[in-house]
């Protein structure tokens, strides 16, 4: 690998946000890229990875924040003024040029300083275009790097997808950029070609010694190629680390779920370095507050399968799938599913034991323990929050109160209160939300934007369209991502608190 000075930051992104039509594509992103490294922005579609790349390229200008290149602010610099070149997702090769002219495009526009000595012996520099010969040579070299010698006169339309991909890379690297940006460059290729190109790109990175910033949604691609991975979701960075760190120490349930296979379980910290899940206390290496609810992540290959007598856990095998190198065995432990990767096979119905070493138990803070909203009472026993309207029990606001016939609240002291338009904070537990595919049944409607399997249940996020309010909840039922559903909450599960009163108390 090219020599890597750890301290040299080539790109710094400082507090960058990008807002399109009132929705934030990228929110308060901070990261730096070291000179010469292969860094990958990884995440599902719509996570902001491409927008971040486009802001580095100069196609999009951040709404707020700064982008520094070698310490200099380039936030508002147009793309043609940046020493950065891009390989586009769909190559964007110019159809009206042949391969040679495509690759030479940047070179023909380039002006380089040339130093001369005049009669008096003084030196001076002049910006000068490259000569025909120099361009020829560079194009030839670039074609050699991508293994397409002799393709100069071919037209773009005669090339296969893989060849067009190579031309796109050649067209970018021929300009000797300081940074090469690659926007899902292998997305349009078939699996075999993709694997080959992964190796070639890595090799190219080693040979050229320039910084690669790579965008992909393919976690395997990211793990294979990168020095550093930036995992993103909903415009925010979830975790930055080496592939090993990201895989072994995922920062949260999302990262664990997105990278590789994992068992994600609900656990509780019962003591220092002791976590309880699946009705068993495990030693672990992470320290959280006692009694804190946590997410426990265990990789399938980290579960050791034993006889039922010798295991910390025991469970019944419900499925066995042969995966070539290993078997993927799914066992029910109580009400939780546990996926195990093992070179040994078991029969469905067998009772097996399982051991997990302390450093293979990854504990992370629970992202959501309760849904919180700002809302207001609209009329008698109805509260509006989260883009929806729900029946509730307003008498909880004043202990001992009741409603009179006209809908006024009568407190325990007999005081009459009109609650209309009173602001409240609303809390709804993760277990208290149900969804239905009948849009009229619930108080709010939205699409399922995320589901994460957590051993014995799924954790869903339903997002409304209007103000993008999220409803997070647990359910054992399986729904599909993007399903349009309505959210049902029983009145007794809606916890209300007066904002005014909170202010007084606070």
């Amino acid at each position: 690998m090219a020599e890597l000075k750890k301290s040299e930051k080539i790109i710094e992104i400082v507090n960058v946000s990008k807002i399109f039509d009132e929705t934030a594509a990228v929110e308060d992103v901070n990261l730096y890229v070291r000179k010469g490294e292969f860094i990958t922005f990884l995440g599902p579609s719509g996570c902001g990875k491409t927008t971040t790349l486009r802001m580095i390229a100069g196609f999009d200008i951040p709404t707020s924040g700064k982008i520094l290149l070698n310490g200099k602010d380039i936030t508002n610099l147009p793309p043609n003024k940046r020493p950065v070149n891009t390989v586009f997702q769909r190559y964007a090769l110019f159809p009206h040029f042949n391969i040679y002219d495509n690759i030479a495009f940047g070179l023909k526009l380039k002006k380089i300083p040339v130093t001369y000595v005049n009669d008096k012996g003084e030196t001076y520099t002049k910006l000068q275009k490259l000569t025909r010969k120099e361009i020829d040579e560079k194009v030839k070299n670039a074609l050699a790097v991508v293994d397409l010698e002799g393709f100069e006169k071919r037209s773009v339309s005669t090339l296969s997808g893989g060849q067009q991909q190579r031309v796109a890379i050649a067209r970018a690297i021929v300009n000797e950029p300081e940074i090469l940006l690659l926007d899902e460059p292998l997305g349009a290729l078939d699996l075999k070609m993709r694997k080959e190109m992964q190796i070639e790109l890595k090799e190219m990175h080693r040979k050229l010694g320039i910084t690669f910033i790579y965008v992909t949604h393919d976690q395997e691609e990211a793990l294979t190629m990168s020095d550093t991975i930036v995992v993103m979701k909903d415009g925010r960075i979830q975790q930055i680390g080496t592939p090993t760190e990201i895989y072994n120490e995922p920062a949260n349930a999302f990262v664990a779920d997105f990278i590789g296979d994992s068992n994600i379980l609900n656990g509780t910290m019962v003591d220092k370095f002791t976590v309880r899940f699946c009705n068993h206390n495990f030693q672990c290496v992470d320290d959280f507050e006692k009694n804190e609810k946590v997410d426990v992540v265990v990789r399938p290959e980290d579960i050791e399968m034993t006889d039922k007598e010798n295991g910390m856990l025991s469970g019944r095998v419900i499925s066995v799938v042969f995966k070539g190198v290993h078997y993927e065995i799914t066992a029910m432990v109580g009400r939780s599913e546990m996926v195990i990767q093992s070179t040994q096979s078991r029969a469905v119905g067998d009772i097996i034991g399982m051991n997990i070493a302390p450093d293979n138990i990854h504990i992370m803070k629970k992202e959501f323990t309760v849904n919180k909203y700002d809302g207001y009472i609209s009329k008698k026993n109805t509260v509006i929050f989260g883009d929806g309207k729900f029946d509730c029990d307003v008498t909880q606001l004043y202990p001992g109160s009741h409603l009179d016939e006209e809908g006024y609240l009568i407190t325990a002291d007999g005081e009459k209160i009109d609650l209309t338009d009173v602001d409240v904070t609303v809390e709804v537990g993760l277990q208290s939300i149900e969804i239905s595919d009948n849009a009229d049944e619930g108080g709010a409607q939205g699409h399922i934007v995320s589901l994460i399997y957590k051993g014995d249940h799924y954790q869903y996020i339903v997002r409304t369209e209007e103000n993008e309010e999220d409803y997070v909840f647990d359910s054992e039922d399986l729904w599909n991502e993007n399903d349009f559903v309505s959210v049902k909450i029983k009145p007794e599960n809606i916890r209300l608190q007066l904002k005014q009163e909170m202010k007084q108390n606070g």
Partner: protein, 270 residues
């Protein structure tokens, strides 16, 4: 009840009849008249009309005049329409279809009405009768501008933004991005716009008569004169044939250009 069965071939009969009556037979008649002459009441085969056209300075200068007017009108249309189509197509303005419609709407109004209105307008501002060439060109541009805007807008609107981004990424400033990528890639629209404006500008003598005060003679007018004023169908037919050949040659030329370009565009259907 009698069941009537149509085969596909039979369904072509109405169109075939139409084609024969209004296209094939008239064409043959024109061909016949063009290569004959009437001497003492008898019709005989002759090349005289053909030779006459290419030896008559008056007719050749009319041809040249038509060419000049058409070229100037087309060029002005292109100069006005391109920036307009570009701005409309590349803007992020959501209601741009409404704006486009405003420019296209004159096409919905009767042509003669439009020209008459323009004549009144030119009269009002005192331009009518001052320069017949200028007024004719104003009329042609006014009349055929939508035909230039529409194909340009369609091509520019479909133009993949990533080409422009790639060009900027490779070091192109706004000017070079336009000259090396945007404009070449919009050539199909330019060509079809030119075709749609150039051809009618050569022949549309309603415009030249109305706005040029009958002082401008273009090819279309000449044909009309031979058929109606001079009652010489042979010469009229010959000029029609020559015009047809010119249009056909232009089509051939631009058509080939367009095909080449379409080939290149097909490359993007990866």
């Amino acid at each position: 009840m009698v069941k009537i069965h149509f085969s596909r071939k039979q369904l072509c009969i109405p169109y075939g009849l139409f084609l024969a009556l209004f296209v094939v037979i008239p064409m043959l008649l024109i061909l016949f008249y063009a290569f004959t002459e009437t001497v003492d009441g008898t019709i005989r085969f002759s090349f005289a009309n053909f030779l006459n056209f290419f030896t008559s300075t008056a007719k050749l200068s009319t041809l040249l005049m038509s060419f000049t007017i058409a070229i100037i009108s087309t060029a002005i249309c292109l100069l006005i329409a391109y920036p307009l189509a570009y701005i409309l197509a590349r803007s992020k303005f959501k209601k741009k279809n409404v704006l486009l419609m405003l420019f296209i709407m004159p096409m919905w109004i009767n042509f003669v009405l439009r020209i008459t209105a323009l004549r009144e307008l030119l009269d009002l501002i005192g331009l009518l009768g001052t320069d017949n060439y200028l007024n004719t060109i104003i009329g042609m541009v006014y009349d055929f501008l939508p035909f230039m805007i529409l194909p340009l807008y369609t091509t520019l609107e479909k133009l993949d933004n990533s080409y422009l981004e790639a060009a900027a990424d490779l070091g192109g400033n706004k000017f070079t991005v336009f000259t090396r990528v945007t404009f070449p890639l919009s050539m199909p629209g330019v060509i079809s716009g030119i075709t749609m404006v150039f051809m009618p500008s050569m022949t549309n003598y309603v415009v030249s008569d109305t706005l040029g005060n009958f002082n401008i003679t273009i090819l279309g007018k000449l044909i009309d004169q031979y058929f109606t004023t001079y009652d010489n169908w042979h010469m009229g037919s010959m000029i029609s044939i020559i015009l047809l050949v010119i249009i056909f040659l232009t089509m051939l030329l631009t058509g080939r250009f367009k095909d080449e370009n379409r080939d290149a565009r097909g490359a993007n259907l990866w």
